[in-house]
């Protein structure tokens, strides 16, 4: 086994191992959330996943970014085919193992990858311009400074490097192939720019450049993969499970709190003995509503990891548009940041330990929560079916039911409903007065 193969195996499996280690952490963090069984309506779930995640249906509400995103997405998917060859070549020390056996099909596949790589490169530059030059408002909200801003750009720089190495590899290899008298590979792009840029170079230089391209490409793939768990860019994997597990009910339906149902049923049951101990305690004592990420259903935490911070939710939010503090994207980013913080804390200090912080107050303020009109625009806008509104309502539940902190006008509204069954101070007996007015 050559030294190249050994380096490859160490690099490749080392990178896979580190990725696996981080994925395990991500799964553990998502499992900080409350259990919630979802295995119903499987056909519908697969269909939704195919349309929304694989087919990117909701992206096309905005055709220009959708098309640019599609270039990068399809290029990414198809480049994985080439990766199979790279892995085999890397381990065995072969060079373009499938080229002699696959013939025309090989040329076709590599040609498609080359064309898509060019399109992806164009899209990447367009995205950099959209983020940094064109000042698209949704990329410049308050929550998009510091790391989130840098993260968005790093991904694009990595993509440029990735494509750069692919083209160095294929271009130099093309020139080398010709120089060695074997003729052109006939790949769509490199058959043109290969001789143009690399033609006339020494075979040794070409060989070196081809190797730099090959190892550079491989390194970028491994770096990129390991960057994902730290980045918003993790959506490229998580979008699929996230959409599969997403809400299929009418958007207007808010979750029912069963713990509350049990108590209210007791109150309505004339047979119930008010002094009797509860028949069987249902699980651990539960806080009403959400105080911290551990109170959220795990699906909300998966959503937080899936969010790629595109800001369509915030862009469509009526509260945000009118200058209120609320930004649905920030709700998702805060949820993720808090989850990672708490997960790290627990791994360091023990599973049952908690720090002094909470999602509410330390990350998300009541002012943000009370600005929401529950209009579902954010939910509708999300290309991967994330539901920031559910988290907002869950946090409101905690404020109202555990802290008794609602805006005073709402407390008044609650008393009206309690006392006379209407949101305003009118007696129930007057409900039919309109008939005779």
């Amino acid at each position: 086994m050559g030294i190249g193969s050994i380096i490859f195996i160490v690099l490749f499996f080392g990178a896979m191992g580190f990725f696996g280690f981080n994925v395990k952490k991500v799964i553990a963090n998502i499992n900080l959330g409350r259990d919630k069984k979802i295995n119903d309506r499987k056909g519908e779930r697969w269909k939704t996943m195919t349309l929304v995640a694989l087919g990117q249906k909701k992206m096309f509400a905005r055709p220009i970014p959708a098309l640019l995103h599609l270039f990068i997405y399809v290029a990414f998917l198809l480049t994985q085919i080439e990766l199979i060859e790279i892995i085999i070549d890397g381990i065995s020390g072969s060079h373009r193992l499938f080229y002699p056996t696959l013939g025309g099909l090989y040329t076709l596949v590599i040609s498609i990858i080359e064309v898509l790589s060019v399109l992806a490169l164009i899209a990447t530059f367009a995205f950099l311009a959209r983020r940094n030059l064109l000042k698209i408002p949704r990329f410049h909200k308050d929550e998009m400074t510091g790391w989130p801003k840098l993260d968005g750009n790093i991904i694009l720089y990595l993509e440029i490097l990735l494509v750069f190495f692919i083209f160095t590899m294929n271009g130099a290899d093309e020139a080398l192939h010709i120089a060695e008298g074997k003729g052109s590979y006939g790949f769509a792009m490199s058959q043109w720019y290969g001789p143009m840029i690399f033609g006339g170079m020494e075979t040794e230089t070409l060989h070196l450049l081809e190797r730099i391209g090959w190892w550079g490409h491989l390194t970028m793939v491994l770096v990129f993969m390991n960057y994902l768990p730290y980045s918003k860019h993790f959506h490229i994997f998580l979008a699929f499970p996230n959409v599969w597990y997403s809400n299929l009910e009418a958007k207007g339906r808010l979750s029912n709190m069963e713990a509350v149902t049990n108590e209210v049923k007791m109150m309505f049951d004339p047979e119930a003995d008010p002094y009797a101990a509860p028949a069987e305690p249902v699980g651990e004592p539960q806080t009403f509503g959400v105080k911290d990420v551990t109170d959220l259903p795990w699906t909300s935490l998966l959503q937080a990891y899936t969010c790629t911070e595109c800001g369509r939710c915030t862009d469509n939010c009526p509260a945000n548009q009118t200058g209120k503090l609320l930004s649905p994207r920030k709700i998702m980013m805060d949820t993720r940041d808090r989850m990672v913080e708490l997960g790290d804390y627990k791994r360091k200090n023990g599973k049952d330990k908690v720090d002094e912080k909470t999602l509410i107050h330390d990350y998300i303020s009541p002012e943000e929560l009370w600005a929401c009109t529950t209009c579902n625009a954010c939910v509708d806008a999300c290309p991967v079916n994330i539901d920031p509104m559910a988290i907002i309502v869950d946090l409101r539940r905690y404020l109202v039911m555990e802290e008794s902190k609602a805006p005073s006008e709402l407390t008044g509204m609650f008393s009206n409903i309690e006392n006379n069954g209407a949101v305003w101070q009118f007696p129930a007996a007057d409900r039919l007065k309109w008939k005779d007015e």
Partner: protein
């Protein structure tokens, strides 16, 4: 006045009869002066087609929608269970609401608590009546040539995907229907949902209803049509802010149909 005929569920029960439909009036429809007019318009339409319907009257209570959205799940479920108990005793099967919030809650949030009914919004009922030929818009329509734009209530549109019924009903008016730049699933909220109706807006640089009214004003409409008493209030206030109360009217679809019918 008006000669409208309304009976309560209790009255039907006393006669040993059951109505075909329960009209859920809602808090706004019962107590808000503007919304009461919408309630009456709905009743006029129901009377016109001789629908055998009833209201709960004093037995109706808030569905609990604003409590639930404000985070008070206890209060919501108390309200829901009380209402469900009453409706189940009356063996209610079909409900029409005059408010998308009541509609959404009854339709989507009551089943889990034991309240299973067929729930429709009044624009859906009107569409049904027009489709079946029970309701006909006669010639000499008062809205001929008028410019009407429909504001999608969030709890009818995005929350329940009802976009067509209100538009189909409006089409019968022979008016010029125009869409705002943000409509249907992209429609902007009026600012009232999620219990905002009952509180001051949080600090910001604009009111949501002002923003939404601007969308409508770009079209220079004669009428902004709605299907929600709260949207109605918000849009009416927005028009006042824009000093357009003389030239633009906010009307519920039920009112438009009742007027077109000369009811």
């Amino acid at each position: 006045m008006s000669g409208i005929k309304v009976h309560t569920m209790a009255e039907y029960l006393a006669k040993g009869e059951a109505p075909d439909l329960l009209f859920w009036v809602g808090c706004a429809g019962s107590f808000d002066d503007r919304a009461k007019k919408i309630t009456k318009a709905i009743v006029k339409i129901l009377n016109k087609v001789e629908m055998k319907f009833a209201v709960l009257g004093a037995e109706e209570s808030c569905t609990g929608d604003p409590a639930k959205r404000a985070g008070n799940e206890f209060l919501f479920q108390m309200q829901a269970m009380q209402n469900i108990q009453i409706m189940n005793e009356y063996k209610v099967r079909r409900i029409v609401t005059g408010c998308p919030h009541c509609f959404n809650t009854l339709k989507n949030e009551y089943p889990e608590l034991g309240g299973n009914y067929e729930v429709i919004h009044h624009t859906q009922l009107i569409q049904e009546l027009i489709d079946s030929g029970k309701l006909r818009i006669e010639d000499g329509k008062p809205f001929k040539g008028k410019k009407i734009t429909f504001h999608d209530p969030c709890y009818l549109g995005r929350a329940n995907d009802v976009y067509e019924a209100p538009r189909k009903v409006l089409e019968t008016l022979d008016a010029e229907l125009v869409e705002m730049k943000r409509c249907k699933s992209k429609g902007l909220c009026c600012g009232a949902g999620g219990a905002q109706m009952f509180k001051e807006a949080e600090k910001g640089d604009k009111e949501v209803n002002a923003e939404r009214t601007e969308d409508a004003m770009e079209l220079n409409p004669d009428i902004i049509a709605t299907g929600c008493p709260f949207c109605n209030t918000m849009m009416t206030d927005g028009i006042k802010l824009a000093n357009k109360e003389g030239s633009v009217h906010v009307m519920d679809i039920a009112e438009l149909i009742a007027q077109a019918q000369d009811l």
